[in-house]
């Protein structure tokens, strides 16, 4: 059955990780997931606006949900930040009548109303449901790939809002990645925040949080890091460049998106996977990836 969603890209993906969007579209096409353009989308508001003013955050995020809802569509997003923000808004507006009334009063001027009909889904949730189809399409196994998979906070927590996977032992995306023959290594700081929300407050502390995490990935002998979030990926594929441990050893590790891994293993053309846009060199694992 063809599933269809309005695809909510957010700001970070079109700004710096167009390879995530492109690889998502390539994988979605292969799996018959129809992605409809999200007309009129603004920023999701994300934790930034929620930190500044919760009413404005609920209004901005509620408007996005109402747009898709009023067109009769569900929402799919490849970004943890957008997913968290939209789900959290949906949670508040659904459960709290006072906020719902307040936000609907602000939406009324735009001819919109939130009623809570649109489902909000993360790309990996939808992919997980298509596990069997994906397994049947694996053409080029990635044996030897040792992935430190980073789920990112807002995909799994708070679990009563995200509703996706076990918040203390998430394995669903790991299962997906392991369909390719890769191994997802257990690593101590897998569930720990990447630090990216702190880039706006203190780059130093954001960097220290990332360094701790990378030492954990190295200790687990991972040969790459995989994410499903552009905010996290900013840490792993931008901020990580040139990072060293206390002995001066490089902590760089190739960083890829879930859809790039699945796309390669499914034998999808390399061009739309956008691997040349990954900033940290993929050379150490090029043979395994077959590139």
């Amino acid at each position: 059955m063809v599933q269809s969603y309005e695809v909510f890209l957010g700001c970070a993906i079109p700004n710096r990780f167009n390879n995530y969007e492109s690889s998502m579209r390539a994988v979605a096409k292969e799996l018959d997931i129809k992605l409809i353009d999200f007309d009129g989308a603004s920023c999701c508001g994300t934790v930034v606006l929620k930190s500044i003013d919760e009413n404005s955050w609920l209004a901005l995020s509620g408007r996005n949900i109402a747009l898709a809802e009023n067109r009769g569509h569900d929402i799919l997003t490849p970004c943890n930040g957008c997913f968290g923000s939209l789900k959290d808004t949906d949670h508040v507006l659904h459960d709290d009548e006072t906020y719902r009334k307040k936000i609907n009063a602000a939406l009324k001027g735009l001819g919109l109303e939130y009623t809570g009909k649109a489902k909000i889904r993360h790309l990996v949730e939808v992919l997980y449901e298509l596990k069997d189809e994906i397994e049947a399409k694996i053409l080029k196994p990635l044996n030897g790939l040792r992935i430190a998979f980073h789920p990112g906070c807002h995909l799994i927590r708070p679990s009563n809002v995200a509703g996706f996977d076990d918040p203390e032992l998430p394995r669903k995306v790991d299962e997906l990645l392991e369909l390719t023959g890769a191994k997802c290594v257990p690593w101590g700081l897998k569930l720990s925040c990447c630090g990216s929300p702190l880039l706006i407050t203190s780059e130093d502390i954001a960097t220290n949080v990332l360094r701790d995490k990378m030492i954990s990935a190295r200790d687990a002998s991972a040969n790459c890091l995989v994410t499903n979030c552009p905010a996290c990926h900013t840490q792993f594929d931008v901020q990580l460049i040139g990072m060293k441990d206390e002995n001066g050893e490089s902590l760089e590790l190739p960083a890829l998106f879930v859809t790039q891994i699945l796309g390669l293993a499914m034998g999808i053309d390399q061009e739309p996977l956008g691997l040349e846009l990954n900033r940290i060199s993929l050379d150490p694992i090029a043979d395994i990836l077959g590139i």
Partner: protein, 172 residues
């Protein structure tokens, strides 16, 4: 550069004039604040916090300050160094929405001008452009991606005028 946030660095030698029950009530009425007073100081929140070793005031201390009605909590570094990872909230044995409470504290601090400068810039781009960042066109062309759907910024501004995003401070 002296930061305008995180200036409350230690309890040592501090005397608090009054324990303000009204402040505790105000925080309890924020999103997620309703179970605030159920905190029994087990410190599980701080045990799982990714910045516990990087802040002066830890999450469980922040929670106690709230319960005691100590307004200086808004000046602690824990408020703005919370990564919003939700680990504390997920694990709280009392079911307190700790991370959501910290969001509310950020709102209160922002109104008092206690925030990292990046947030002031972010507010402006959210109001002016409805987005935090603009698309990188050459990358999209290289990957044969279509244009990012347009946004009518007038719409989002109209709404943000209604919620008063640009007038959060008293006297704005």
């Amino acid at each position: 550069m002296t930061e305008i946030w995180g200036q409350f660095k230690s309890f040592d030698g501090k005397k608090f004039e009054a324990l303000d029950a009204e402040f505790t009530r105000e925080v309890s009425s924020l999103l997620g604040g309703k179970d605030l007073t159920a905190c029994f100081q087990c410190s599980k929140c701080s045990a799982g916090c990714p910045v516990s070793d990087k802040v002066n005031i830890q999450v469980h201390e922040l929670m106690r300050m709230l319960l005691f009605g100590i307004k200086e909590v808004l000046e602690t570094d824990m408020v703005w160094l919370c990564t919003t990872c939700y680990t504390c909230q997920e694990r709280c044995p009392q079911g307190i929405d700790i991370t959501d409470i910290i969001f509310g504290l950020k709102n209160m601090a922002f109104k008092k001008d206690i925030s990292p400068p990046g947030y002031i810039a972010a507010r402006k781009s959210l109001y002016d452009q409805g987005r935090l960042y603009e698309p990188t066109e050459w990358e999209r062309e290289d990957l044969e991606l279509g244009d990012v759907p347009e946004l009518n910024v007038e719409d989002t501004r109209k709404m943000l005028d209604k919620t008063g995003l640009m007038k959060l401070k008293e006297g704005d």
